[in-house]
């Protein structure tokens, strides 16, 4: 498992020292979590897992939300913005 590939997937930079450190730690951590292989999940099927359900609501702005975050406050939190838009570099080159 390549730390570099993983870092790119996670959009994170690491320096060389950090890469080496993480590589070692990962081996130990993955070794530890692989203890789960021994767990007998026989009784749990995928269907039984799905005890959870999605809570949906009407697609309209709730009264509370209307009072909450004024768009101006939210936009101003961005490092770059223009008019009422957050400004970013090109997504596609």
């Amino acid at each position: 498992m390549e730390i570099e590939k993983l870092a790119k997937l996670a959009r994170i930079s690491l320096n060389q020292t950090e890469k080496e450190k993480l590589q070692k730690e990962f081996e130990a951590i993955l070794g530890y979590i692989s203890a789960l292989e021994k767990a007998d999940i026989g009784a749990v099927t995928d269907k039984e897992e799905m005890e959870t359900a999605n809570i949906l609501r009407e697609d309209k702005k709730e009264e509370e939300e209307k009072k909450e975050c004024e768009p101006e406050i939210l936009i101003k939190a961005a490092p770059f913005y223009e008019n009422n838009f957050v400004k970013v570099k090109h997504v596609f080159e």
Partner: protein, 478 residues
Amino acid sequence: MKTISLKLNMFLNNLTIKKAADMLRKKEISAKEIVLHYLKNIEEKNKDINAYLEVFDGALSEAEKIDKEGIGGRPLFGIPLAVKDNILVKGKICSAGSKMLANYKASYDATAIKKLKESGAVLLGRTNMDEFAMGASTENSAYGVTKNPHDLSRVAGGSSGGSAAAVAMDGCLGALGSDTGGSIRQPASFCGVVGLNPTYGAVSRYGLIAMASSFDQIGPMAKTVEDAEIIFNTIKGQDIMDSTSKDSPWTRGGEKLRIGLLKYDKSGVDKDVNEAVEKSAEILKGLGYEILEIELPNIKYSVPCYYILVPAEVSSNLARFDGVRYGLFKEGKNLTEDYMKTREAGFGLETRRRIMLGTYVLSAGYYDAYYAKAQKVRELIKRDFEKVFDLKNGGVDAIISPVSPTTAFKIGEKANDPLKMYLEDIFTAPAKMAGLPALSLPTVQTGLPIGLQIIAPRFGENLLFEIGKNYERHISRS
């Protein structure tokens, strides 16, 4: 600063929320006087302990304002509280202990904060924490460690170390923390205060900076169980802004209760901790509770399971920190590099470690072996608890166990071994697997504080409070 009479000072040094609320109601003291007293304590002690990252400017004027308004039946009127740095207070910086949000000002109040404000509480400031709530010592904070008020060479625990220390150093009458795998209970245990991890869904997560969405809960930390109960009753409740929240439908309790003492491997736990738990079981027996030994067969998988599920959710939740809409921004050659440089500069090593671990267990080829498997193991652990709490089949009403395998360790002792740090969660993670409420309350100790953990079925907080208050009453008498 205004001076307060000597007699009043004596009262002020031994306050609880309950006592303070009585005094405020009888007008024996004003909100301003109480807040002044705590601001003074913070000024004296915070430089050595680093519990508070920021004391809010407006706290005193807020107290003056509510004095003018009058109590109006508000339960927390004038009560000074601290807030963990990952809970949004509108207009105030909320940094989650991270450089990534060093200058981020909250754009709204968390629901829990809104409720505290409506109840008349005065928010004194924001407290230190492990970055993005990842850690068990507050050593992962980008703003320095918080020291344990009982021994400054030791950690306050984490990730709510600042909140625990703020209460323990008498820098507030109570605090909000957050618990994902033990982050309220373990620092409460280390600092000798009470900490409640509520049932998943009991308190709205709206305005809590997300770490692991199926585990996170905001909860109270205080000097007594009754105080924790008062804060909990104020902040709990269903919220339309959090679809995972629910009102407490609780009905059980009152009759003679059966308490299960968790069977665990004592060799992996400090001798003092084992003794504290054994002694507590004796005390509870003496109080009339029936004590039985119980086992949770899949509990040994809790920590490995936790460290698959939580990093997975973390990697998803922290993807939003990319320098685009808020927070730190570091420039690269293109958009991808912007992200990578921003996240390298903004996130500490533990945060990056967990994001990458999460990315790994969710990646193609590994998802089934790790994440899907862990979800099923979580279900197994949940069922273990259901069996143990099944009163119709010889089950118990509540479970007691240690909170942590150790007392507060020395600063730096576990900092270089992430796995060792993860094992701190061995007793606190299981309840979070099943979304159960759990309380940490101080046992009687001459040395370092040791907390006792009580776990109840979902929405069983009233059981925790009842047992906790009985226990507390007994040890304060003896």
